[in-house]
Amino acid sequence: MKTLTTLIKPLLAVLGLSLAMVLGAGRLSAEDAPKAPVASHGDSHGEAKAAHGGGDHSHAGAAPSFARVFGHRYLTAYMFCLSLCMGSLFLIFIHHLFDASWSVPVRRVAEQLASLLFPWMAVLLIPILVLQKDIYPWLTIDPATDHALDVKKVLFNQKGFNVLLPALVLSWGLIAHTFRRWSLAQDKDGAAIWTRKSRVLAAGGIFYFALSLTLGCFYLMKSLQHQFFSTMYGVYYFAGSVWTTLVTVWVIVIWLKDKGTLAQVVHRRQIQDIGVWFFAFTVFYAYIHFSQYFLIWNAAIPEETFWYVRREHGAWKWVGFTILFGHFFVPFLTLLNQDVKLNKTIMLPMAAWAWLMHYVDMTFNVMPVCFPEGPEFSLLDPVLWFGMAGFLGFMFLKNFGSAAPYPLRDPRLKEAVTHHEIPAAGAVQSHH
């Protein structure tokens, strides 16, 4: 019961914060309403227009249609959930690539999370495919009239989008399920060949992972403003994804440890190391996002700056600051102390905070296309976000119960479990 309440508390915190945002945003949009939102598009788009001669068709000036707004809100929630799956897939890759032993007891959590890619993330992709013309303005533009689109039509064409995007999601699902299948096979026979096969898949797959994640992220999120250039965009999404995943895995592992499921195999070391990794990705995310911003700011090329100009306009500026402080400074300073990574009282609210910040980050990427003046929240946001994440969480629990909670016969399990264990006095067989 105690663990349940510790889990519910951060959820309530998230709920409360979202509610506050919904209420706060209502006031905000009411204040901004009299100012003509149409006229203000000009400054950011004028630049893109001038550079390409094509013009930005992302809004015709009228308020965005319900389908578009809904599509974008849905996409925000989808990108958040995709983060957790892709981040988990990355944890499996890294585990096998480095022949790690410490992470054996927590690997099954990552395997089960990543396995949500198929069928669930593939199924959840369908609304995006159905609403594609509403969500992605470039799908309704003739490349002949838009230079920016014309030079990118190799990727940004309808056929490419409809074939490649589902193929990417399915391929991730296939990889995740392959890792999981081999891991479960090892539970039965304990053969080292499964570890070896996984390592080979990880060695080759990591390259595919990097490229396909970037491509998927270009299609799903970056193409909302197809004129934008940033080679760092994929890494940027990746950094935020792994960050969110690590804190999620931390929470799940702590919960399973307290519950007793992982009590025998998860020790201080695992908890500490996931926390350290989460800390590292706090810095990595900040480094990547700062670099993207800084390079664009420094070069000051209109094809790139318009993306941030739009995100510094109106209330979006404050969302940007929220990300700067909330996504980096707050977690960074909080996690600086070594002991914090083992402290549930700090880490559970931190997890709720990280989920919120990653959602804000996704909003920052997606929503300015619909709402140039600032975020306009609706109840749909928490409904879609909690709905999707809740559904996936339910499927995760269901899958998790269907297999052993950790790789039972992994060759490195013993090493992971006994390493750093401190014997009590007299417990060790002494010389003589």
Binding site: W297, N298, Q338, I422, P423, A425, G426, V428, H431, H432
Partner: protein, 181 residues
């Protein structure tokens, strides 16, 4: 005091297995000794906890060094580019934390690293010209195939007879001997 009238450095106990030294370390910790150390040819996992070593303070040196580096970077660039001799570069403002950031960040790392290194040396009382253990013939195997515990005579619980008996009987040391100062 020993026969020659000088206070010895301490008592050295030799072990030949990692299990033996771990067990002995736990016993020394539980017996309440404070001025003692373990010497092994390679790191032994769990030794910190077995010895009851507290978390190092060195992180605070790192933190202060890092903060100093960051502030130095920001202040330096603000002073040079805006305050002392305003210089327009690439049409950018005279000062913004944006372009000052990479330099400040590097200085954070540099001064953080320096503070860590020198803080560690300071906390360990290094550099030190000599340690009486280095003159001990038996101790030479600490870098080869033996494990040692040395309880120093400065320890409040130190007593030549009791400590010696403790190490050989309770800790099952291979050999126990006095280390001259």
């Amino acid at each position: 005091m020993n026969a020659t009238g000088t206070r010895p450095h301490g008592i050295l106990a030799e072990f030949d297995t990692t299990a033996g030294i771990l067990d002995a370390a736990i016993r020394c910790r539980d017996a309440g000794y404070t001025k003692w150390d373990v010497y092994t040819p390679f790191p032994i996992h769990g030794m910190d906890d077995a010895m009851g070593v507290k978390k190092s303070m060195v992180g605070w040196f790192t933190f202060v060094g890092g903060v100093t580096g960051f502030t130095t970077g920001m202040t330096m660039i603000w002073f040079m580019n805006k305050f002392d001799y305003g210089l327009v570069v690439g049409g950018k403002p005279l000062f913004t934390p944006l372009f000052a950031f990479p330099v400040s960040y590097e200085l954070t790392i540099l001064l953080g690293a320096f503070a860590t290194l020198f803080g560690m040396l300071f906390l360990n009382g290094l550099p030190r010209l000599h340690n009486p253990l280095l003159a001990n013939a038996r101790f030479k195997r600490a870098s080869d195939d033996r494990f040692f515990i040395c309880i120093e005579s400065e320890d409040p619980k130190y007593s030549e007879e009791a400590t010696r008996a403790f190490l050989s009987e309770r800790c099952h040391a291979n050999a126990v001997e006095i280390v001259e100062a």
